[in-house]
Symmetry: C3
């Protein structure tokens, strides 16, 4: 069974950040993601309550390590100052078609 080491980047944010996020994905070359509404509460460390009780989305991106880093650096620089969001990364092994 062939698998490929990739990164899963999970982003939890206000629904209003959604179009900005999809624009960033297009810009950096993220082609695969899922997005679903969640209820939740969260904080960015210093600012409890930053993320409202409702109206949040969870977005999951599978990307090669280098692309995941680019995505996270852009989120850190451009989204952290403007939106309430939580971003974390984990390791996954993506299944490949057997012919590869």
């Amino acid at each position: 069974m062939k698998t490929h080491p990739m990164k899963l980047v999970t982003i939890i944010c206000e629904a209003l950040a959604r179009e900005h996020l999809l624009a960033l994905f297009a810009e950096v070359g993220v082609h695969g993601y899922t997005l679903f509404p969640v209820e939740g509460a969260g904080s960015q460390g210093r600012r409890p309550g930053d993320i409202a009780e409702f109206g949040n989305i969870q977005v999951e991106v599978v990307a090669a390590p280098a692309l995941a880093t680019v995505l996270m650096e852009r989120l850190q620089a451009e989204f952290f100052p403007r939106f309430a969001l939580i971003v974390y990364e984990s390791d996954v092994r993506v299944l490949r078609p057997s012919k590869f």
Copy 2:
């Protein structure tokens, strides 16, 4: 890019456990979570079918390792005897604001 090693605790349970779960979060100091309805089937090992086909929720908590352990120990002691639930933990790296 600064990231911080944390634990992701995933809880899948009957929707009726929801308020009890949120009360436990408040009590142990969990501030960040997402919650969404899922369809699913599951078992707790010994009791297949414990989790009904519908009416389940999936709850995801990002917490420091020590807090994740406290949360899981409380779930084990107080929720396992009363509710059908599945709990698992994994490693994530949480993105930090660049100024930290």
Copy 3:
């Protein structure tokens, strides 16, 4: 706190693959999963746009390592040729009842 090392297999696919997937779960012995609708876009590497904008589901299975491998091999052999899907695996530690 007792935990057990398991695999989390995540499957993102067209909603139309759903019944086929549940039939495969029953056949290989997967008893625990969650399933929820997601919005998303994705590609299988070679074929951008394979996964439609809407009408996708995300399915998450917790299984022992050997069962996860069987499941992924079956998905690779039987689902990759027929459906647009993304499959990835990660490591989780499942909480066990304390009496075990």
